[in-house]
Symmetry: C2
Subunit: 337 residues, 2 copies
Amino acid sequence: MIRRPTILDVAARAGVSKSTVSLVLQGSKQVRPETRAAVEQAMAEIGYVYNRAAANLRSASVGLVGLVINDLRNPFFTEFATSLQMALAAEGYATVIANSDEDAELQAKLVGSMIEHGVSALVISPAYGGPGETFDQLARTGLPVMQVLRKMDERTDLFPFASFDYASGSTMAARHLMEQGARNIAFVGGLPGRAITRERKSGWRDTLKAEGLAEVAIHGKSSRAFGMQAAGELLSDHPEVDAAICFNDLVALGLMAGFARAGRPIGAEFRVVGFDDIEEAQQAWPPLSSVACDIAGFARDTAARLLAWMVEGQRPAPELRSPVQLVPRMSSTGIPE
Amino acid sequence: MIRRPTILDVAARAGVSKSTVSLVLQGSKQVRPETRAAVEQAMAEIGYVYNRAAANLRSASVGLVGLVINDLRNPFFTEFATSLQMALAAEGYATVIANSDEDAELQAKLVGSMIEHGVSALVISPAYGGPGETFDQLARTGLPVMQVLRKMDERTDLFPFASFDYASGSTMAARHLMEQGARNIAFVGGLPGRAITRERKSGWRDTLKAEGLAEVAIHGKSSRAFGMQAAGELLSDHPEVDAAICFNDLVALGLMAGFARAGRPIGAEFRVVGFDDIEEAQQAWPPLSSVACDIAGFARDTAARLLAWMVEGQRPAPELRSPVQLVPRMSSTGIPE
DNA sequence: CTTAGCTATTGGATCGTTCCAATTCCAGTG
DNA sequence: CACTGGAATTGGAACGATCCAATAGCTAAG
């Protein structure tokens, strides 16, 4: 295979110096329009492709942002990842998306690989567990790093954290269910002890406590399969429960599928609210009420904050909470749309 | 911010030359164990991080593979992307995942950006339309490029293509539905004219033709929303239809939701088969029959083929088809599991 | 006609690695 | 003790861009 052409080849062909070609590449307005045109034509003719590695070697910044996600298969995270990528692309930054698959070791490798590739910032929704030293090391690089949607369980204060105001969402969901007439509201899903589980439960717990109601909570993985399993558990062990707030929409959808399987309708008899308001929520039957997190907007905000940090050195506040919104649908109101 | 340490700093600290440090980095067994240890300690002490950009500048290969996906939000593609990433990670390659969001222009930009970043190979599930010259240019780079799951609509023969044997899957689905007693089988979803739509329809069409049955096809976007809409259309305009093969599981799930909304049960009265067998298919209610594509296995095969190409220069066959399998579930058999 | 003051262009040094040929080291041999 | 040969180590060139200070080209003023 032949050598890829360099700016020297372009320069020779266009009859200018390499420096001029470099200026053209950088879009400097120093160069005369005719010269620029000649250079551009030469580039097109010999099929020149920019070598970013070489450029970065000399001039620090790479215009590359790393994104490490604990579970890219979860549509909520997929949506975040793609939205962030687009927001950053609009500003001329490329994004490297990687999936740690909840594997802390893999996560450490991915982060390392990204740093080696010279990312100028990192956004991470961390996997739990694993050596916290990964993060110490990361902090020592001085790179802008934001943890989003999930706080790491060690060294939580190393990097600014941005997420949603889940606690209010939880309160809204509980109040809404009680207004609809529900009395025994269970909480389903979420691994116990995790910060995010605590947050998403807190409003529910406070509301129930204020009313002196019993608290039924079934914890587990945040998957559709678990929701289905929990449905069985609720139906057999807690027949008095007449509503559920689910850790996320996947659990809620699984729960609804479980009820459907048992021939029990969702809506007026048993009310369900989820978290995240993924696209599927409104297309399920019955449509699923959910605490909506404007994830695309959140991704844009994250991009803006990250850019402010990278470009102007403006480190964001240590903790940021974006507002959430309850979207009532048939699964909690019983009213078809 | 202070300068990142280089191998020169490491060398100074360890009391060796930069060349020795470089050898250690490359894991050469030329260096004496004691020397290696000293170098490694020095690296740890001053917090050295490898600069891949500089390394790549000198020695072509980057160990970076680009992956461009037309719709990363589709769980099928998400699964493929994450599986491919893991398969490549196991071989020491990093993967850059990008989502073109069916935007050919964005796709061109992403491909360009990846080449600039020096990927040593590219896997692409192309968006439709857009300037075919992007691909000509890509072909001219001589990089190993594989198109997967979808053929680009121009210059289809530029790069090897790997996908599933959808035509057989379609035949299996049609035969299965007829064995279950269905007579009027509709095809729902898929944009008309697209190669993949043709493939997924072909077996259905042939089977119906052989039996002299009428063909009802409703084409449209491959989304849950479209499936829901199509359900209404089927119920009002084609009451004789008693089964449907859907372009993919998302459409099928939308269709089932639409039927549920109308109070029409899925299973014995109306049978549905989807394509892709996404995780949700078995967790939906009723569980969705689907033509299963072992996407994780496919991703592994793709990784292996790509590596053979990259490392040994072994270009894969121009067209590869992985086998598919029909997974009958309640949505087509009517039998609860 | 010279020259100041621009603008447009240029050559050389530089970034942090790898590669290569050359050198040093050292134990073993005659 | 000189010499040999292999292992371990080394210095310098190279990769392809950017950056900077210097220079060439040009216009308008003196």
